[in-house]
């Protein structure tokens, strides 16, 4: 019985720690949308925070509609260093539009959209730098 209680306590503690880690990383990631991290532009969040606790060999993906005539910023974080996360952006036909792996895992990138399109954003940890943890992705648009 004691073992069971101990296991539950440990499990709950782990879950709590993960949630806490994710929450703090969301705040870090929001900084990338703020003017201080850019050329003075403010990026307004699309209203959604994408976060997941991932291990090596896992990725997260979501679909997003990017509207023509808009400027977006996709920002990521997974910890204290800026280059833990690799993210790829694909169009609806799975053509790769961008990968920050080609840009030294830069934590955020801006996308100027000429015409509206549906995209898939895939994000995962660069296992050379971090093997597990919370991963956060944000999208903001410049008004």
């Amino acid at each position: 019985m004691k073992r069971l209680v101990l296991a539950i306590v440990v499990a709950l503690s782990a879950i709590g720690a993960q949630a806490q880690e994710c929450d703090s990383l969301v705040n870090v990631c929001y900084e990338y949308l703020a003017p201080s991290k850019s050329d003075g532009k403010v990026f307004i969040s699309d209203g959604q925070v994408y976060k997941a606790f991932v291990d090596a060999e896992q990725s997260a993906e979501f679909k997003v509609t990017l509207y023509g005539g808009s400027l977006y910023r996709i920002a990521t974080t997974a910890g204290t260093k800026d280059d833990y996360v690799i993210f790829n952006v694909y169009d609806q036909e799975r053509n790769l539009l961008f990968s920050n792996a080609d840009e030294d895992n830069h934590p955020y990138w801006d996308f100027k959209i000429d015409n509206t399109l549906d995209c898939y954003v895939e994000a995962y940890l660069d296992i050379d730098k971090k093997v597990s943890g919370c991963l956060v992705v944000l999208i903001g648009f410049n008004k």
Partner: protein, 304 residues
């Protein structure tokens, strides 16, 4: 082989602004080849496989009402108060469904008023959002401090929008952390419906092709919202709304989208990529008129 966390966390609230409850991850699908990815495009949004996941749910994106309001202002320069709801109606919303839906609707109205720099109106909506938030038991989101900061930044629209989004983000975080995904989904839905209502009325006023296109481009968002509502409709409280939105979807299914890939242009120095791909929306006038009529009916039924 990479495992796809297909349904990350549903975070939502449009206007929002949201935040996900966090830990919402469903590790369930392998991604061995392109053909399976194509299947994911269809099945990922399938309600049967979505939020019944053991954790939080799927990742999706719903366009922000702020973005819709910004686009509308590009086409309609004058503030149209008649388009908005009455911020004094809070007392009329006595059920959780009505409170949550109208918290989303008020959020869109708040965004619209802020974009049009009608700060007096914006503060009225923010006060109403605060009341609804309180009645829904959402803590740590819309409080007096946030309201004061919103007012203090009355001459800085960007700051006002950020503060507003902060409130919705914290609200969403609270709801997700407390497993109240249904309420979060309703807030999101209300915001989306109100922003589509703005677009509908703006099109009637301007006949703008830009606005018409933006309405047509909501097809994906509508599909996602219907699936989310179905996921949380265990008690069938949302059946009527789902039915209305499904009827609306029949018109959206008649819209034709064309897409042509063009190589993007990367600008490493400025951390920017320009997406050059071409796309177009083709929709008959009757279809657009039907959509406008239906969205007006749906929205007006929700604010009463």
């Amino acid at each position: 082989m990479k495992i796809l966390l297909k349904y990350f966390c549903l975070s939502s609230i449009t206007l929002a602004l949201a935040s996900c409850g966090g830990d919402g991850v469903d590790v369930d699908v392998e991604q061995p080849d392109d053909s399976e990815i194509i299947v994911i495009q269809d099945s990922e949004l399938d309600s049967a496989s979505a939020l019944n996941a053991s954790i939080n749910g799927k990742m999706f994106s719903i366009p922000s009402p702020i973005q819709m309001a910004t686009m509308i202002k590009d086409n309609v320069s004058s503030f149209n108060e008649e388009m908005l709801t009455d911020p004094e109606n809070v007392a009329n919303f006595t059920t959780e469904f009505k409170r949550a839906i109208n918290m989303g609707i008020y959020g869109a109205d708040l965004g619209y008023a802020t974009i049009y720099e009608n700060n007096t109106k914006a503060v009225s909506y923010l006060s109403s959002v605060e009341k609804l938030s309180d009645e829904l038991g959402i803590s740590g989101a819309f409080d007096q401090d946030l309201l004061e900061r919103f007012i203090e930044n009355g001459n800085d629209q960007d700051s006002m929008l950020v503060i507003m989004s902060e409130g919705y983000r914290e609200g969403d975080r609270f709801l997700k952390d407390n497993e109240e995904h249904d309420v979060a989904t309703l807030i999101l839905t209300g915001g989306w419906i109100e922003s589509l209502y703005f677009a509908a009325l703006s099109y009637e006023e301007t006949q703008s092709q830009d606005v018409a296109n933006r309405i047509g481009e909501q097809k994906t968002a509508l599909k996602t919202i219907i699936e989310l509502l179905n996921d949380y409709n265990n008690d069938e409280y949302y059946s009527s709304l789902i039915e209305d939105l499904t009827d609306l979807q029949t018109d959206f299914k008649l819209i034709e989208f064309n897409y042509t890939y063009i190589d993007p242009i990367h600008d490493s120095a400025n951390h920017r990529t320009t997406i050059k791909s071409k796309s177009s929306v083709k929709m008959e006038g009757d279809v657009l008129n039907d959509i406008i009529t239906k969205i007006k009916n749906i929205r007006n039924g929700l604010i009463g």
